[in-house]
Subunit: 170 residues, 6 copies
């Protein structure tokens, strides 16, 4: 039973990790497919990191907590929702169940007769990509909100300065 979860992961944070842990422990999902959405995006305030950089972060974060045997697959946006499920299907191994809290993703997969489950929501006030990106820009205490390996990689790839530069764009 393969389960799919999709996110942009800009960056991957502890809230995401909580969801992954929940899915991995779900008996409906024996194999996890982690799709990285908006894979073509990078170098913007909304999507600062490339797909490759996000793959590196997530792989390290999952290794850190001992989660193995997952597929980590970048998905470029297609911007035509009527064909989007087919687009995803073509890029990932066959899936049996979809995990999402996004009502559009839920709608689209349900219209294609997929089983969809809604993971418990983590604390969105605390764990939010938008908020973490702002904290990085303003040198606030963001590192505790992401896995240790993620903060290391962000610093290694000069991600803090990249975000600060992007924040200067008018």
């Amino acid at each position: 039973m393969r389960g799919l979860v999709i996110g942009r992961y800009q960056p991957f944070h502890n809230g995401h990790l909580e969801v992954i842990r929940e899915i991995v422990s779900d008996s409906d999902c024996s194999s996890l497919i982690l799709a990285i959405g908006s894979a073509q995006e990078s170098h913007t305030l909304l999507n600062p990191f490339t797909a490759g950089e996000r793959i590196l972060m997530i792989d390290a974060a999952l290794n850190e907590v001992g989660i193995k045997d997952y597929f980590l697959i970048p998905i470029t946006d297609i911007n035509r929702y009527a064909v989007w499920v087919s687009h995803v299907e073509s890029l990932v191994p066959p899936i049996d169940i979809v995990y999402t809290n996004n009502s559009l993703t839920e709608r689209l997969f349900k219209e294609r007769n997929y089983k969809v489950k809604t993971p418990k929501l983590y604390d969105r006030d605390k764990f939010s990509g938008t908020k973490i990106r702002q904290m990085i820009i303003h040198d606030e205490n963001w590192e505790m909100l992401v896995p240790k390996s993620v903060s290391q990689i962000i610093k290694e790839i000069d991600g803090v300065n990249r975000l600060k530069d992007l924040n200067k764009v008018i």
Copy 2:
């Protein structure tokens, strides 16, 4: 004399029908081409219905009132206005006149030397796609604003629930 009219028709409503009636009775237009714009769009609050669903609705609505002999043609957006008229020209039979209330459409066709006519404006406060989509979401009395066959098709394709789901997307 073939006349072109372009709309997104999300959904097709009685205001649109009024315009079509006016064009059909115009002596400058003996054959009507109804182009469905943003054909690639669907499953968003702005464009909930696929081009195919919109074609189905419009065809039924025109049959309902006895209008025949029209072309019903989906046009995908091209997002380069300098080539947009050529794009439309390539997808529809040769046109002699364009009917539009949109000043950009008017400008673009006039720069290509087309005759452009401005239909009388229907009551935009009453008949508005945006407003009708909101009324569908909130179970208000929207059905009287669209042809009977349109409301039937929207319900058959589960359009009411689709709009409600799309409205939940953050």
Copy 3:
């Protein structure tokens, strides 16, 4: 029960008309959707006519023989077969059955659980788009192979000279 048939129709000829007649008389199909493939193509030896020109020809040809109540819809190529069925689905009214002699089209729709029927093959040696285009170029007796309204339109839009010019391209 809506039935779909797809072709490039470069140009629409009597063999195509034979297939349409067979489908129209099939009790499985009460409403016909005629999709015009490679809609973005024109001005090549393989695809000389624009989608709009082809729509004009087919509409006239079907009127000529009294066939009514069909949808005539241009479909641009998407060149990703894994999403192609979804692409078609989004542009046409919901379909119940597909008519095709092309084994790829058959395969793709069957993988999406569509019922597919194979129309009787017309005489392909006689009725062939490729052959008719060559006959037009060489002023051979092509007009008897297409409906009368099609040959009229080809001449009206200067199609004979267009094909001759395209044939000169190295």
Copy 4:
């Protein structure tokens, strides 16, 4: 030593000219490449003029002040910043230095190890494309803000009326 400067130039104004003068007199730049960004855009309030029209304006403006020996190259947007520098590199002669006040452009070229210089900023309150386009729409005194040849060309191509029409679009 070839230097690159990129702008949308909607339209080219005296502030742009000031920057070009500064670059041309910089000893690091013996040959100037003027890239015209968002080349695919036209007929919008933000980007009213085609790339071809902008090329015409800039060429005339530089001739007016005696600047010669530059490359004037349209660059379409690619909307994937990770490949954007490669995209630009493929369309222009090899470059040695980049001049920009845009922190994203600076970031992207620096990540590719280019030398980047920041030209002195002209008076942005006075010379601003956005402001000049509004002044054109409202028949205010915009002509003194652009080179004489630019205002002539804008009037010749009916640019004033185009902007006024675009301003009516809802």
Copy 5:
């Protein structure tokens, strides 16, 4: 030290596996990135399997022989070689070395100053995607040329019949 190897893997065969084993044992490569090229392609004689199906096959094949700790990343074609290296870079973790026998891939990465190594060539007469696809179509003894898990998956996803159907397309 991350090493990149790119292939279409239609399907993944024992020759590919030989190359992977060689790279994995190379001291220059401590982490392997396996990029799956032409990821958007499927359902053609040249590229019968989707990227997702190929990911499934390769993952199973590498597990079969005990190779772990690799990235398996689909790369869609971009068809502009001048930006292709940037395209790949954006989708994979940072790479230190590229393994390839393709002189274009070698040229493109060398122009971007990458270290490129040429793996020993496996027996191309025996192990060839083209040949294996033909053997599948003609029910010849192809299963011994691919890892056991690959032949199982091809049969599970009805890949043999898919290839036979694609072979009928004129």
Copy 6:
């Protein structure tokens, strides 16, 4: 009176130069627009050089013979002939006359009511891009077939080795 001439210029050779000289001396053309087609292509046997490299070569070659006051503009392929003229129009200054020996280009511009002139054909057996690229690969005496500045630039950008590498691709 602006005249347009389009070519791929892979590379720019003495036959091209002959045509340019003829156009420049034509009284119908007081300003020359040199469009560089297939601008997105590079690193293939058919199109080895980037648009930027070709611009550099042509500019140097025209300077070499004292031709001034031309526009040198890259045009990416659009692969939809019905909109191709609009695409070109949007990227170049307004044109009054088109010079071409290609019957498709002639057809397309004539369908848009442009005046088209056919330059005298240079010796195509001697001056042929295809032949010159083969001569470069095989170290034959190609340099006498191109302007001196073109052969210098090809060598400076390592173009000879690039072509030899591309020739090895299977």
